[in-house]
Structure formats: structure tokens, C-alpha cells
Amino acid sequence: MLEYLELISEHIDTLMYGASITVMIAVTAILLGMALGLALCFGLLSRHRWIRRPCLAYQSLWRGTPILVQLLIVFYALPVIGLDVPAIVAATAALTMNTSAFQAEIYRGGMLTLGHGQFEAARILGIGVWPARIRILIPQMFRLVLPSLVNETISILKNTSLVSIIAVTELMRVSQQIVATNYRALEIYTATAVIYILMNTVLSMAGRYAERRFAATS
């Protein structure tokens, strides 16, 4: 056991560096995905078919195919259309679009649960569509869907492990690199698993705290 801990402490710096990149990618994807997901959600609820249909198609695509495939497509397709970006950007873009499709569904469910009444009351008073959405519907919707949102955040964090495939140096890839030097696959990967579990546990606790604080009123 002692030897195991010595082994890990030797590489802990590198692992922490990898973890920090993981967190950075995840946070970026979550926030960008949130904005995109909200827009998509209202697109899905639009009364215009020419808005709804493309949104449904986008959602179907990004929810219905494996993330790995999505990552590979974005990674290889971007240069083809002239966008030569670093792998980490391509990876974050793919993760963002993926999570936006899932978040849109979460928000859509929230909006449907909220019901139409408050929106109608706002519209009848003359409040515009977007002001009504932003000031009245969205704040409440977030409180409703907080648990699902936390789950999605955990998913995103786990999905960052896949970007190691396109050579982005986050936690997964860093551990692969360590294993390449000392062949101690079992020990290193187990330690990495523990780090992921710790990150997600912190995330879950933060989520429960946020639920207690914000999901209370109403």
C-alpha cells in the first residue's frame, strides 16, 4: 500500500495538471452549452415549423450518435472547411454541441412543467416575448431542472475523458502518458478513476447545496 502511495505521489503533479485541463474543458463546454441549449430549447418550442424542424434535426443528431464519433467528425471535418484549430478547441466545440442538445431537452421539460399561464399573464400585460422568457420563465425553470442539470454536468466531466483520443492533454491522456513510462497500468488508472470520482462527488455535493439554496422558493 505504501509503495502504491509513493508511486502516485511521484506523479501527482502531472495528474493534477491533467485534472485542471479536464475541469477547464468541462466548464467551458457546460457554459457555452447552456447558452446554446437555451436557444435551442426555445427553437424547439417555437410555433414556426421552419425553426422547429432544424432544431429537432440538430437535437436528434447530437443526442443520437456516440460522442466519440462526434468528436472524430468535428476533429476531422473542421480542417476540411478551412478552420484549422487546435485539438482542444475542436474537442470543446464537439462537447458543447453535444451537451447543448441534452440541455435543450432538460430545459424543454422544465418549460413544459412550468406551464403556459405565467407566460400568458406576462404577454397580456404587454411584456415582450424575450423579456418575459428571461425575467420570469428562465429563473424558475433553472430551479426546477437543477437536479437534471447537475447530472448532465457530471456526464460532461466524464465525457472529457474521450478527448484524449484526439490527443488533448487532459487527465485521461496524462495518465496514459504516465503508464507509457512505467507500465503500471492498474495502479495509475485506478488512481485516475479515484480522481474522477472525487471530482464528481464534489460536483454532486455542490449540486445538492445549490438545490437546497435555490430550489426552495415556490
Binding site: P66, L68, V69, L72, Y76, L162, I165, I197, N200, S204
Partner: protein, 221 residues
Amino acid sequence: MDILTNLVNWELYLEYGPLLLSGLATTAYICALATVIGIGVGLAVALLSASPVPPVRWLCRGYIEIMRGTPILILLFILYYGGPEIGLRLPAETVGVLGLGIYVGGYFAEIFRSGFQSIPVGQIEAARIMGLSSGQIITRIKIPQMLVLIVPPSINQVIILIKESALLSIITVAELTKNTTQMVNETYAVVEPYIAVALLYWILIEGVAHIGRKIEQRIKV
């Protein structure tokens, strides 16, 4: 029509069609096996988590939380690359099936567990008062209700499983994604392989979703 023939090189499909389809078959077969394992493990854990023995309960909770908090990729790596260190040398496909099965087992356990708990007490009380026996309550009321609660998220979980199975390509299993990557590497084409793979996964997933809807209709009656 000309644009279509120029944009996509249809001959590639003739040449690589069999490879892709065999990948699809492998994916389907692996996912089916992993689903069976996952449901089995999940059911066992869900039932055990109601145990009166605290350590048993903690183990179940721990198992579910670990699966929830760990990327499947790491799990596969531990089994495939770390296994040999303790003498476990399993072929890639077996690791894939086992890894996926154990991973989704955690999610199925959670689905089953909340399904068991969610039946409104009022219905059980009403049945008791009408004189139904415990056995009758279980078969006529509990199980049908649980099915309604459990089937939709379970179908959803199978779909998630199918998507996660793409990761098996990383530990060299010759399933759909790996074969597609092979096609990409050999032909240097990007458009044709990825259109095909997206389509094939979509067909597989839609198929499962369709079966799922049929099952849901059946159990609602």
C-alpha cells in the same frame, strides 16, 4: 444528382460495406450481451440495497456511486491494460462486454431501486383492504406498476449503452466505430465513412427506441 455523385464516392461503400456492417453486427451483439449482464447486476444490486445488513447496503451504494462517478473509458482501461498485472488476460471483446455490463449495471440498479420505491402506498393499502393476498399484491399491482416506471428509463439506458459501446474501439474491439476508423485510415476519405457510421448508429438506436415504444404500449394495458 450530379452533385450527389461527385460529393460522395459511392464505390467506397461497395468495398467497405461488409466491414461496416460486420462492425454494426458486433456492436449489436456486444450491446445485447452487456444489457443482459447490466440488467442482471442491476437487479441484484437493487434488491440487495434493501438489505437489513448495513455493510451490504453500503457496498451497493458504493458500487452505484463509483459507476456514476467514473468514465467508462477508465473502467475499460483498468480491465484491459491493468488486468494483466493481476493475471487477468481477457480478450478485448470480453473486456468490452464485461466492462459495459458492470458499468450500466450501476445505472440499472438506480433505475430499479427508485422504481421499487415509487409505488404509491395508497394503492397497496387499498388492495390490502379489499383482501388481496401478499402474493396477489406483488403480481397484480406491484410488478405491473413497476414495469411502467422502469421500462422507459431502461430503454433510454440501453440507447446510452449503444452510444458508449463506441469506446470499445479504443481497446481494439472490432465494432462499428473501430471499423469506420479503419475505413478512414485506409481510404483517407472523411465524408463517406462518417455519414455511414452516423446513419448506422442512428438506425440501431431508432430500432431499439421503436421496440421500446412497443413494449411500453404493451405494459400499459
